[in-house]
Amino acid sequence: MKRFLTFLCGTVLLAASGCGQASKPANQIEVWHWMTDRHEAFATLARQYEEQTGIKIKLELFAPSDTYTQKITAAAQANVLPDLYGILDKKSIVGAFIKAGLVADLTADFEANNAAWEKAMYPKALDVMRFSAGNIDEVKPGIYGAPLDVTNIQMVYNKELLKKAGITRVPATFDDFLAAIDALKRVGVAPFVSGFGEMWIVDCFASNYAFNIMGQDKVMATFRGEVKYTDPDWVKVLTIFKTLADRGAFIDGIVTKGNKYAEQDFALGRAAFAFNGSWCVNVYRDMNPDLDYGVASLPAMDQSRPVRSWGGAGSSLVVNGNSSNKDKAIAFLKWLTAKEQQAYFAETTNNLPANRDAGTAISPVLAEFSRLVEHTTHPSIWPLNEDPLVIEAFDKGIQAIIIGDKTPVEIAEQVQSVKERQMKKAAK
């Protein structure tokens, strides 16, 4: 008993001792991030920076991302945010952080030296942290963060399975795609897999075709309530899913499949096409290093307009507006997004660099993703977004079409009725 009590007292004393809050050194930049897979590369760069400048980078990893978001929210309210951090939330939340003075305006730094920093970045990546004049969040126009990498979501195809089905050319039009589906089915290969159990992927796939079929202006007009979801163009978007389902394009159980399981299916050669983001390069390499695959845009319905896939900044960091080390943090961020560091980042982590000049260090498959970055778009850079309940009705409707529960026209009417209800609510 005595031994146990001694052990207990020792433990409690140890817990209580030497753990007071340390004051923050002036020559240190604190960074909070969530990127588990990039932590090692980040740490190496942080050591290099310390050797070069004498400024210590204190790197703290908090994962998974939802826990990180909770931490950032709590730290923001207690005003103890670090010098550099990321906001993994909607653009309106980023706007709220900016208006609270928790994010520094980096516009002057991006525009300095004939806008050298700005020009080095992919514009699409910068757009995620850029607030333009007249933005709905009422944030002072400017650039408020720097992207570390870029992502985009495209169609990937298994070269061996296509060859097996006798497909010599990657389908560029929707008709070609349907022909490829028939050819794959003839040789007993499931044509297409994606994580359609996750709403955001369904939404992304549908929005690519909405932009292709009717263009951005008409999509935005629909969001404003000026065009109805029962419009023939929207019905055409919904009909794509019915056509693909009727043709047997989808792997079994696609509407309940999470993206991680869809990735397994493609990596293990269970489907010939997949719809996935550029991060898949790492995932497929881990699961099947011998997988031979390529990247292409979704086959267009309307050849006169490009298919605009979702993409842009993958991970961005912002500088704490209240930080006493603001200038040092900006200097570090600038260094981190410079060509050499971005090339190292891309090479070691297999992510697309945000710096345009750093693209030489990436793998051939990533280079294919990189080639398509300029054709991307993202809800966070649109002038306005659809009501979340309308999006939910639209995405769930697509799932109902795929399983044959509803027709495109029925779903279009349902979505329109939700839209009208939400508009009435908003008008009150």
């Binding site: 052990f7 207990l8 433990t11 409690v12 140890l14 817990a15 209580a16 753990c19 007071g20 809050q21 340390a22 909070w32 969530w34 990127m35 588990t36 897979d37 932590h39 703290e60 990893l61 908090f62 994962a63 998974p64 991302s65 826990t67 990180y68 909770q70 931490k71 929210t73 709590a74 730290a75 309210q77 207690a78 103890v80 991680k260 397994q264 990596a267 293990l268 983001g277 991060w279 898949c280 790492n282 995932v283 881990d286 699961m287 099947n288 290093p289």
Partner: protein
């Protein structure tokens, strides 16, 4: 031996019972077996090799999990947190439960119900106010801050359990102790606590599990890697897009061992604690 109706009935009953128990046992043990099996595979084989025993055993995953997940320091921290928090909960909750059960003071029931009501508040709901309060007390990023919060998390249920136990303790025992010259502290220490051993065992195992597996509050309150508990190490293998399943499984296996040992050590008391609530003293 001749088979009669009663013996046949007995055999049937036993067979059904044993099949049921075997099914439950397999359903409990199979996930653990699968975790250990997966921990010995590679990222390439884990999705294609569906055999029960992998052809090639990849023990390297354990070493990688230990080094990459920084398990050395995290194990140390988790042991400190678990011992401190469980000790704190046992001491405070047993005193509080004894007071709620055996002492009379104004507002006793109201305070007790407030404690019980605290169980209804989900932890994430209190994150922001908790963080702001701990920051004002300069307890963010300190071991003691995390320990105090975790003690608070475990108090409500422990007090409720022990109060129910103490309520059933015969008052004659307390009177006898008082005649022997015990004061209230001595009654709590010499009479109430030894009798509540089964309930305390339940509290110890329940809270040990809770603290050992906790990481959300740790992630919120702690910044330094040197202060983080074991579960944080597991997150190193669980990226936003990639999961290193075999190493994660190896980490999970190592993480599960101490808590299984605690459970095995306490299991006799736990069964008693769950079944002997009606007979105290």
């Amino acid at each position: 031996m001749r088979l009669n109706r009663y013996i046949l009935q007995d055999i049937c009953k036993n067979t059904v019972l044993h099949i049921f128990l075997l099914t439950v046992t397999i359903s409990c043990l199979f996930p653990i077996f699968w975790m250990v099996r997966s921990s010995l595979m590679t990222n390439q084989t884990i999705f294609v090799d569906h055999s029960f025993f992998p052809g090639q055993l990849n023990w390297q995953n354990y070493a990688e999990a230990w080094v990459k997940g920084r398990f050395g320091i995290y194990f140390f921290n988790s042991i400190i947190y678990t011992v401190s928090v469980v000790t704190g909960i046992v001491v405070v909750s047993s005193m509080a439960a004894f007071a709620f059960s055996r002492l009379y003071f104004p507002g006793r029931d109201l305070i007790f119900y407030i404690f019980v009501a605290a169980m209804m508040i989900p932890l994430p709901g209190s994150f922001v106010p908790l963080f702001v309060m701990m920051n004002k007390l300069h307890l963010v990023n300190t071991r003691i801050g995390y320990i105090l919060c975790m003690i608070n998390v475990g108090l409500s249920l422990s007090i409720l359990l022990l109060k129910t136990f103490f309520d059933k303790m015969p008052s004659d025992l307390e009177d006898a102790a008082r005649i022997d010259g015990c004061n209230r502290w001595q009654i709590w220490w010499h009479v109430a606590l030894p009798l509540a051993r089964p309930a305390l065992a339940v509290i110890v195992i329940y809270n040990s599990l809770n603290v050992w597996n906790e990481f959300i509050l740790a992630n919120l309150l702690l910044n330094d890697k040197t202060l983080m508990p074991l579960q944080t190490g597991l997150m190193a293998f669980n990226g936003a897009f990639q999961v290193d399943y075999p190493v994660l499984m190896a980490g999970l296996t190592m993480t599960a061992i101490p808590i299984v040992v605690v459970y095995l050590m306490m299991q006799k008391h736990i069964v008693k604690g769950l079944s002997s609530g009606a007979v105290v003293g």
